[in-house]
Symmetry: C2
Subunit: 153 residues, 2 copies
Amino acid sequence: MTEDRVDAVGELEAERDELLNDLKRVAADFENYRKRVARDQESLVARAHERLVKELLPVLDDLERALQAAEEHQEGKLEDGVRLVQRELSEALAKEGLVEIETNGHFDPHMHEALLSQPSDQDEGAILEVLQKGYRLGDRVLRPARVVISQGE
Amino acid sequence: MTEDRVDAVGELEAERDELLNDLKRVAADFENYRKRVARDQESLVARAHERLVKELLPVLDDLERALQAAEEHQEGKLEDGVRLVQRELSEALAKEGLVEIETNGHFDPHMHEALLSQPSDQDEGAILEVLQKGYRLGDRVLRPARVVISQGE
């Protein structure tokens, strides 16, 4: 056996050992990453909720104040309080991406649910009345708008 | 060079190539996993919010009905409506883990904020009055209860 051959075997062994070490290291990093991701996802959801829940605390406060006004028979104050609560809740949900579904125009089965259709002088499929508002969160319809549509004349 | 040596070199080369392939595969899996995690986290937060926001839609509906009653000067109906809204909102938030902070007993700086202290016949540090309710989400204090405490006699 020549010196070169001995070198070649030695080099190959060193190369193999290095690759084996790299493989072990990458596999360990991967495993640690997986574990961290599992922990992170839990706290991510918890934190996301925390922010939204925190924004709703003033709504709870103002509801209680409104009820206090009701108990003291201050009807004007009660009504103002309820208006405030509605604005606060709507704004908190709008910040989360909640949007009211449009009902001006024609029936769209992706966004509207027709509970009734009745003859009218409007075009077939025109929305005549909104029975319950619909909402979407970004592109996702959370609840279709429940509507009465026209059958045409 | 002997036959054995040739075998040894060939085996080492095969071993090295296999390890190199394994390393490339694991590294690629790792990279794909990272990308998937980034996508998942976005949709995880979106889905978590979606559920909570969806639960709050009936609260919005009932608020609107209550305001409708107010416009029609049906004060009794308005008050009932507001009570319903408060119950719904409290229940939706309780489901998320929201808990009112206890204020029966002694001042605890981890959960209470003393806005005033005044002389009273109660022990020093006793909570005399709650000015604003406090809330926690699991172990985390979202907002301390704002209280008046006793200075003692």
